[in-house]
Each structure stands twice: as structure tokens, then as C-alpha cells.
């Protein structure tokens, strides 16, 4: 979509005639969403946009501006209607057996908005990093003393009289004790700031004077160890400062590692340490065991679904990718550290893109399943001619009535949205398809009504292959057979299955004992260690009775062995059943650790809290009431989430690669600079793919592409 958006810009004056071929009825892949009963939003998981998603925000802002929706007719007319700042990030910390405390951090707003033109507030400058680092440290300070951070940041003063506590954990008391804490924390933060400033100074100078790096590294180590001693002494006398100390430990260790490994002057940047696992690399650089086992690091891994084969016993994340992600996330954001969408991702992202692209003349062909990217026969190539894509073979899943064009959107209170299934009335023999329950997005449902082959020159000149990495082995056999690099990519750039469920509750979360602002939280128990309070989307749905809360949960889904064959038609059913079972068990046994009010006096989850969109036909008050909620096993190859295993980055292929001179690739699984699974990586990759064809946007204008 990003590539199409770039190539269809008016500046190109219609030079590129673009057609997008799409599996099933909707755009978005694993980011797609649909509207189900009660127009409820049904996602593949919970999606947030981080405040450093400069390219993603730039494009979506341009998209909304070009769309020019009338705010009187559509509640999401502008990008700021579509996204809400979400400054709270939480971690669940085990405090005793079967007991958790939630630690909620408020990240103060940073200057500017993501996607703004880069100015003096360019997030990728030392000034900005230091400013953000100071903010982050101050945030830790305020959070640790149990202060109402929102209020304090507005007032820019620390109110020492406040008696509020953090997350119900009661970390600190009032009055004098708190003041003492503040001062002690001041020592820590001052030390950390100095170390950070020193580290950056080393980086600047060492980048120009590599010969001085060793002496500088020694100096940094002296300062760091001195600060560690001081901080250790404070933390040892006050165990409640442990988390803060762990954060500083990780920060110090990262700075040390950057100097020790010479990353400032290494032309590979942070990629130079991608052979290491992030945790392993921190350990090499002296991080304490406490910090390595901390929920901070575990939360970071959770965030990236960073475990091999979806197994949380095997956490693995490339060190360079992790370090780059942390720096950009913490020190590179503008506006808010996190932005939540005010409706489904399909509604606020893919529908506007679809509408703008349509307006620009881009054609869409829904219900097309790509089966094969066919290379030209090597024997047909002229001397010196590069290999190229000769044809694209599709299965056609459905025909549109009267040969027209499928119109995929429908309106919910004036907002164009994607449905959770096809609009059968537009499909030839639609009632029959509905009755037969064709699963158009399922890898295992191979039914079709025809085939189509597109041929080079006749039907296309260039191909942008934008499918998920999991589908590559199925559609790119020609490339894999003849190209070692493609074989290596398939072998090493791994992806995982994920699982998610959403619940709609009659009561609000406060009534269940969860007295926190809307938060995205990681580090909770398996099998759903992450969840997001999505209360901001309630108004976008159409319930007869307004829900009190909407909460999304997600995690990886542990794989059970080798990938199932296409002929194993029971696999999707088994996995979906497994997610259902996981979700029910989670609600029955785990959620009470955070929401004590969600269980009755007998310890049972209060199933009647769940809102059933077909309330009048539902009589169940027991466990089966969960069947009215939404859950999904993201097991289709196009839905799998790409992970960044140590050593895998060098096997990624860039969209700029020109081995096949009419083929480029796009997706967060490509060598796009960020090299981690996220919206921003996908957008960068799409922009690179556009550059590969049109030379615009320039590589220098792709924000953060040249980041170390």
C-alpha cells in the first residue's frame, strides 16, 4: 500500500498504472480488521503505532489530507481523529506467588507530532535523544515515587504531599519518606544522566577519532562502575528501587556496549551485534542478573513476540535490532510514545488508503490468491540479461456480479469500514458461497472459481511482491530453487504464529478493581502476556447497550512441530480451538491477578460480565458465554509475524535489490533498515520498493533509514 501510495502520487503524472491483487475481500494482511456483530471491531491482535513511526505517520497524514473528509459527516475525518495519544505503558511484575503488581509508566509528550517535517526537533539528533532521555529518567523518578505523573507533568512540579501510590502496590508512603526517596533517586538519575551524556560524547568523538575509542571506553567503564556502586548501595538499602535500578543498569550497559563494541564507527552500525541475542549481549557487557531477568527486558521481548517457534522458553532477539528499536522507541518519539487507533486498523488506515488510491486511479482486484511467481526460463535469457518475472499465476476465488468492480467498504455511522466477511451481494452466486462457508483468507481453503495468469509486457512491467514472509515458500518456489539467497532468507528469516482474543465487558475496568488509565501492558502471564485497554473504540461500535470496557489480548502461539501441509484441513480448526481453550483458561485462572473484581466470591470468573451481541438469544451465563466473544489463531502464512532472530538479518533481502530487474519486494520481513516486525518497517519497505522503481522517494527522505 505504501509503495502504491508513493507511485501514484500526482507528481508522477500518471506514469505508473497500478493494479493491486488481493487475497479475499479486504486489504491489510495481518493488520486487517473487520466489523462483526454489533459492528464490533475484530482485529488480528492489538495494534499500536509508536511515536517514532515517522514514515507511517507521514503517509497516513498525507492520506487523510488528500481524502478531505467532511468532519460533519464522518467522525474520523483527520489523522488526529484516527489516532489518540496513549502515554501509558505498563508492566506486570510478580510480587508474590500468584500475585502481580502492575507498574504503569507515563511517558510525557515529546515536542512535535510524528510525521511533522524534520526541524530542529529532529528526533534523530543528539539534542533530541538527550532531551528524551532526561524525560524518560524523570518519568522513572516520578513513577517510582508513586506520583500522579500526568498531573505533575502538567504542573511541572513535584507534589510531595500527594498520597497516591503506584498501581496499588504501595511502593512508597507519604511525606518525609517520599522526599528521601526523591533525593536518593536524584542520585541515580543524575548518575545515569552523566553516564548517558558521557556515552554520547564518546560516540561523537570516537566516530571521528576511532583511535581514541579504547581510552574512551576505559573512561566510560570507570564512570559506569562508580555510578553502579553508588546506585547499588542505594538500591540495596531500598529494594523498592530495584526496578529503577534495573532500568538504569540496562541503560548503562547499553552505552558501555556501544563503546566496547565500537558501534559508533562501525559502518554496520548496530547491525554489527546482530549475531548476538540481545540479552546475551547485555550480559557480555556486564548487566546484572537482576536486570537481565527483569520484567523490563521480558516486556521488551514480549513486545516483539521475540521467541523462537512461538515458545516463550526460547526468547531470542537480535541485539542490534533490539538496541535500535529501544533507542528509537524511547528517544525518538514525537507527540506520544504510543498512539492508539480510534477504530479498527482497517477502518483508520487501510480504508483511507484504499479510497485515496482509488481516487488516484489505482485498480483493485479482490479475491485473487497468488499461487506462483514464475521466473523466465534461464535458457531464454539473452547474454548478460538478468532474470525476471515472466508471469504471475493466481487462483480466482470469486467473480463480481456483472463483471463489475468489488466495492469492499460499508459505512458505520458515516465511517467507511471493512466487514469481517465478504459482501456476498456483490459476488456472483454469493448466497451459495455464504452457505458453503468459503474461507477466502484461509491457506487451507483452496477452493476457486477460476485461474488467471498475468504476463510480463502484456499485463505488467514491474512487480512489487507485498505478501507476508510466511507465504514466500509457497509462491516463490522458482526463486528459491534457483537462488541461494532466497533459500537462505526462507531458512533464516523466521516468523511465528500468534493468537489473540477480545472481550467486551458490561462493567468498566475500574469496577473490576483495575484503577489505571488506558494502558498497553506486557509481561503478564502466559499464554496472554500482553493486553490493551481499548476503551477508545467503544464509541465506534454499535451496541444496543454500551459496553463498559473492551480489552484485547495477544501473544505468540507455540508451534507444535513442522508446518502443516495444505492438505491438513483439520489444522485451522485445531488451532482455533486451542486459542479458545487458552483464552477461557486465562480468564478463569489468571485475569483475577489484575482484575480482582472479575471473579465471584467462589473464585469463578463472572462470565455474565461478557457482552453477547445476540443477547436476546443467549441464555448462557457460564463458560460457554465466551463463545460470543472474538478470538483468532493467526496461522495463515500471510498472517504470521516476522521475528528477528540473532544472525538472521544478513539473510534479509532489500527492496532495492535488483537481481530480478522487474521484481521488488515489500514488507516488514525485508531488509528495510528497521528489520523488525511492525507497521513502520512495512511502510519503510514500501517506500524503498517505490524507490527501486521510480527513484523516489529518495533514500535520504525515508526517515530513519540511515539510522545506525
Amino acid at each position: 500500500m505504501a509503495a502504491a501510495f508513493e507511485l501514484s502520487r500526482p507528481e508522477h503524472k500518471g506514469k505508473y498504472e497500478i493494479t493491486i491483487y488481493q487475497l479475499g475481500w479486504r486489504l491489510g494482511g495481518k493488520g486487517a480488521s473487520g466489523r462483526g456483530p454489533a459492528d464490533r471491531i475484530e482485529e488480528h491482535g492489538f495494534h499500536v503505532w509508536f511515536g517514532f513511526y515517522e514514515n507511517a505517520f507521514r503517509l497516513i497524514r498525507e492520506c487523510y489530507a488528500e481524502l478531505g473528509r467532511d468532519p460533519r459527516k464522518c467522525r474520523i475525518a483527520d489523522w488526529q481523529d484516527a489516532f489518540s495519544p496513549a502515554p501509558f505503558i505498563g508492566l506486570a511484575k510478580p510480587v508474590a506467588k500468584d500475585s502481580y503488581a502492575s507498574l504503569i509508566s507515563y511517558f510525557p509528550p515529546a515536542e512535535g507530532m510524528p510525521g511533522d517535517p524534520l526541524t530542529e526537533d529532529d528526533p534523530f539528533t543528539v539534542t533530541s535523544y538527550l532531551k528524551h532521555a532526561a524525560n524518560a529518567l524523570r518519568t522513572m523518578l516520578l513513577t517510582a515515587i508513586g506520583h500522579d505523573t500526568t498531573d505533575s507533568l502538567n504542573r511541572e512540579r513535584v507534589d510531595l504531599n500527594s498520597g497516591e501510590q503506584t498501581s496499588g502496590a504501595g511502593l512508597y508512603g507519604n511525606g518525609f519518606d517520599r522526599l528521601s526517596q526523591l533525593v536518593k533517586l536524584g542520585i541515580l538519575t543524575t548518575a545515569a544522566s552523566l553516564i548517558e551524556a558521557i556515552g554520547i560524547l564518546q560516540a561523537i568523538l570516537a566516530a571521528r577519532l576511532p583511535s581514541a575509542a579504547e581510552a574512551l571506553a576505559q573512561f566510560v567503564e570507570v564512570i559506569a562502575s562508580s555510578a553502579r556502586r553508588q546506585a547499588d548501595a542505594v538500591a540495596a538499602s531500598d529494594p523498592q528501587l530495584d526496578l529503577l535500578w534495573q532500568a538504569i543498569d540496562l541503560c548503562v550497559t547499553s552505552m558501555l556496549g556501544i563503546v566496547r563494541f565500537g558501534l559508533m564507527s562501525d559502518p554496520r552500525g548496530f547491525d554489527a551485534i546482530n549475531e548476538y541475542d540481545f540479552r546475551e549481549w547485555l550480559k557480555i557487557n556486564g548487566a546484572s542478573e537482576r536486570a537481565l531477568d527483569s520484567i523490563l527486558l521480558r516486556g521488551a521481548y514480549d513486545l516483539a513476540f521475540a521467541c523462537e517457534n512461538g515458545d516463550y522458553e526460547r526468547p531470542r532477539h537480535a541485539a542490534g535490532v533490539g538496541l535500535r528499536g529501544a533507542m528509537r522507541m524511547l528517544f525518538g518519539y514525537r507527540g506520544s510514545i504510543v498512539w492508539k487507533m480510534n477504530a479498527g486498523m482497517g477502518d483508520v488506515v487501510f480504508a483511507p488508503f484504499y479510497q485515496v488510491l482509488k481516487r488516484r486511479g489505482v485498480a483493485f482486484q479482490f479475491f485473487h490468491r497468488l499461487e506462483r511467481v514464475r521466473l523466465a526460463d534461464a535458457s531464454s535469457l539473452a547474454p548478460g540479461e538478468r532474470s525476471y518475472v515472466e508471469a504471475l499465476e493466481f487462483d480466482v476465488q470469486a467473480q463480481v456480479v456483472n463483471g463489475g468492480e468489488y466495492e469492499p467498504l460499508f459505512e458505520v455511522d458515516g465511517l467507511p469500514c471493512w466487514p469481517s466477511g465478504p459482501i456476498y451481494s456483490q459476488i456472483r452466486d454469493g448466497a451459495w458461497f455464504e452457505h458453503e462457508k468459503w474461507k477466502f483468507e484461509s491457506h487451507w481453503d483452496r477452493r476457486k472459481v477460476g485461474t488467471k495468469t498475468l504476463r510480463v509486457i502484456e499485463d505488467f512491467d514491474f512487480v512489487i511482491l507485498g505478501i507476508g514472509v510466511g507465504a514466500i515458500p509457497y509462491v516463490c518456489q522458482d526463486l528459491i530453487e534457483c537462488d541461494q539467497r532466497w533459500r537462505d532468507m526462507v531458512d533464516h528469516v523466521k516468523s511465528v504464529e500468534t493468537q489473540a482474543f477480545q472481550i467486551w465487558l458490561k462493567d468498566d475496568l475500574e469496577a473490576l478493581g483495575w484503577n489505571h488509565p488506558p494502558v498497553s501492558l506486557s509481561g503478564f502471564v502466559q499464554p496472554f502476556e500482553s493486553f490493551a485497554d481499548m476503551r477508545q473504540v467503544i464509541g465506534a461500535e454499535n451496541w444496543p447497550t454500551r459496553p463498559g470496557a473492551v480489552v484485547y489480548f495477544c501473544s505468540t502461539l507455540k508451534e507444535v512441530g513442522s508446518l502443516p501441509s495444505i492438505s491438513d484441513l483439520t489444522y485451522p480448526i485445531k488451532r482455533r480451538t486451542e486459542v479458545h481453550r487458552n483464552a477461557v483458561r486465562f480468564l478463569k485462572h489468571e485475569i483475577q491477578k489484575l482484575w480482582p473484581g472479575a471473579v465471584a466470591s467462589n473464585g469463578e470468573f463472572r462470565w455474565q460480565l461478557l457482552m453477547d451481541p445476540a443477547e436476546s438469544s443467549s441464555e448462557s451465563l457460564g463458560e460457554s458465554r465466551f463463545d460470543s466473544q472474538f478470538w483468532i489463531a493467526n496461522i495463515d502464512p500471510t498472517e504470521r509475524y516476522v521475528i528477528s532472530l540473532p544472525g538472521s538479518q544478513r539473510h534479509r533481502i532489500s527492496p532495492l535489490d535488483n537481481t530480478y530487474d522487474n521484481l521488488t519486494i515489500a514488507g516488514d520481513w525485508t531488509a528495510c533498515g528497521l528489520d523488525t516486525g511492525c507497521v513502520e518497517a512495512a511502510i519503510i519497505s514500501g517506500r524503498l520498493a517505490a524507490n527501486a522503481i521510480a527513484r523516489t522517494p529518495s533514500l535520504e527522505s525515508i526517515v530513519g533509514y540511515d539510522h545506525p
Binding site: 524523570r138 551524556a197 562501525d266 538478468r386 509486457i457 545506525p708
Partner: protein, 239 residues
């Protein structure tokens, strides 16, 4: 079958990002603005700083900004202590100890910090980074005879120090009668001590900023104690 020939893509000028760390620190003005800008494979990253003395100076300033933020936060906390419910007995011994430890920590670390800057400046002088007291030729390159001065500061506040000492002064017993501000009534800076080069050590100047010292720029001459002749000038800007 069309007679049209197949279209080809041109090779990209590069197929990967430039990971050179220095690109993080480029200023917007140094960013390529033109969409037409095309990078060249192997092209060296452009310098990030406009002058050879820019890197260290900028770094010191940035570091001070961070330090200042935390000192400010501590000061606000202290103000709250005075404004809020805390009674005199609240300032107990234990709190006093913690407070003193904090102040002591800052007092210790700041001179160390400046020491580091001096050391780094020495180490990087060949590349033209900031070296206090270094004479320079027309191109801004340090001249061969320029000694390296260590500037030690004891201050809870950020400073900018400019030291211009004539060549061959490093072994002399230097002194300053005081640095004056152009604002009448502002106390002069007098706690400035010079330590000559001795047995291969570097000459050093120590500047102590008393608590309550007003902000501003203070300037004065540096003289030889023995003859009284002017050997240079010095200015300190307190932020």
C-alpha cells in the same frame, strides 16, 4: 503478443542503509533536503560539525543541559520542602545526610566531567577538536607549540570557559585579579587558581563558582605573578 520491449529497473545507487553513527547527529540543516539527492556508494558521511572545535563544545553544552535538568528538579524538590507541610524536624539527620551526599556527588562529578572534556580535547586535538588555550592558525588548526590546559570547575551550574593564554606561559605562576562582569554590582569571580606545568603534568586552572553567584559573563586578564605582565585573557559565562 506485444512488440513492446520489457522494461528494466536501474540498479539502485546503494542497497542498504548508511549505518555510520555520525549520521544520527547531523543537524537538520545538514540533512539532504532535495528529493533529488542521490547518494553515491562509498560516499563519505559529511562532517557533522561546522568547526573543528564544535564537537566538544556542543557535547559539553548538551551534557550540561542534562545535568541542569536534574539539578533543577532537585532544586524544585527543595523548594517544595520549604513550601509544604514539612516542619523543621523533618529536616532530620538522615535526610540531611542524603542531601549532603547528593550535593557532594554533584560537586565531585562535575570537576571530573570537565577533566574528561579536557582529556578528550587533548586526545582529539590532532583532529581539531576543542582544546582550551590552544592557539590556532588561520584554518583553525592547532599550532605545534600550543600547550593543553586542564580546566577544572567546581560548580553546580553549567559554565562556558574561554581561555586565551600566550605561548610559553604554561610554566609561569599565573593569576588573575578577578573576572568582572559588565553589570555593576555583580560580584567578581575571584576563586580562580592556576597551577603551572610541572614534571610533565599539564598546566591547570581551577574555577570555583560560589553558591548564589549571579549569572552572566565574567572576563579579565591573566597575569604573571612575578612580573605582573599580561599573559592572556579569560572569560567565564555562567548560565
Amino acid at each position: 503478443m506485444s512488440e513492446r520491449e520489457r522494461l528494466h529497473r536501474q540498479d539502485a545507487s546503494r542497497t542498504g542503509p548508511r549505518r555510520d553513527f555520525s549520521f544520527v547527529y547531523r543537524r537538520p540543516a545538514e540533512n539532504p533536503k532535495s528529493e533529488e539527492h542521490t547518494a553515491v556508494e562509498g560516499e563519505q558521511p559529511r562532517a557533522n560539525f561546522s568547526s573543528p572545535t564544535g564537537s566538544a563544545r556542543e557535547s559539553v553544552e548538551l551534557a550540561y543541559q542534562v545535568i541542569q535538568k536534574h539539578i533543577d528538579a532537585g532544586r524544585r524538590a527543595a523548594e517544595d520542602l520549604g513550601e509544604n507541610l514539612y516542619k523543621p524536624r523533618s529536616a532530620s539527620d538522615s535526610f540531611q545526610q542524603v542531601l549532603e551526599k547528593t550535593l557532594s556527588f554533584q560537586a565531585e562529578i562535575l570537576p571530573v566531567w570537565l577533566e574528561v572534556i579536557g582529556a578528550l580535547s587533548k586526545g582529539s586535538s590532532a583532529a581539531g577538536a576543542f582544546t582550551p588555550g590552544t592557539a590556532a592558525d588561520q584554518n583553525g588548526n592547532p599550532t605545534a607549540y600550543a600547550p593543553t590546559w586542564t580546566v577544572e570547575v567546581i560548580s553546580a551550574r553549567p559554565l562556558e570557559v574561554s581561555l586565551d593564554i600566550r605561548p610559553h606561559s604554561q610554566t609561569l605562576a599565573l593569576a588573575t585579579p578577578g573576572l568582572q562582569s559588565i553589570d555593576n554590582g555583580t560580584l567578581a569571580l575571584t576563586a580562580i587558581d592556576f597551577f603551572p606545568q610541572h614534571n610533565g603534568s599539564r598546566p591547570k586552572v581551577r574555577i570555583s563558582i560560589p553558591e548564589g553567584q549571579a549569572s552572566g559573563t565574567f572576563s579579565g586578564v591573566v597575569v604573571n605573578r612575578e612580573g605582573g605582565e599580561v599573559r592572556g585573557t579569560m572569560s567565564v559565562r555562567i548560565k
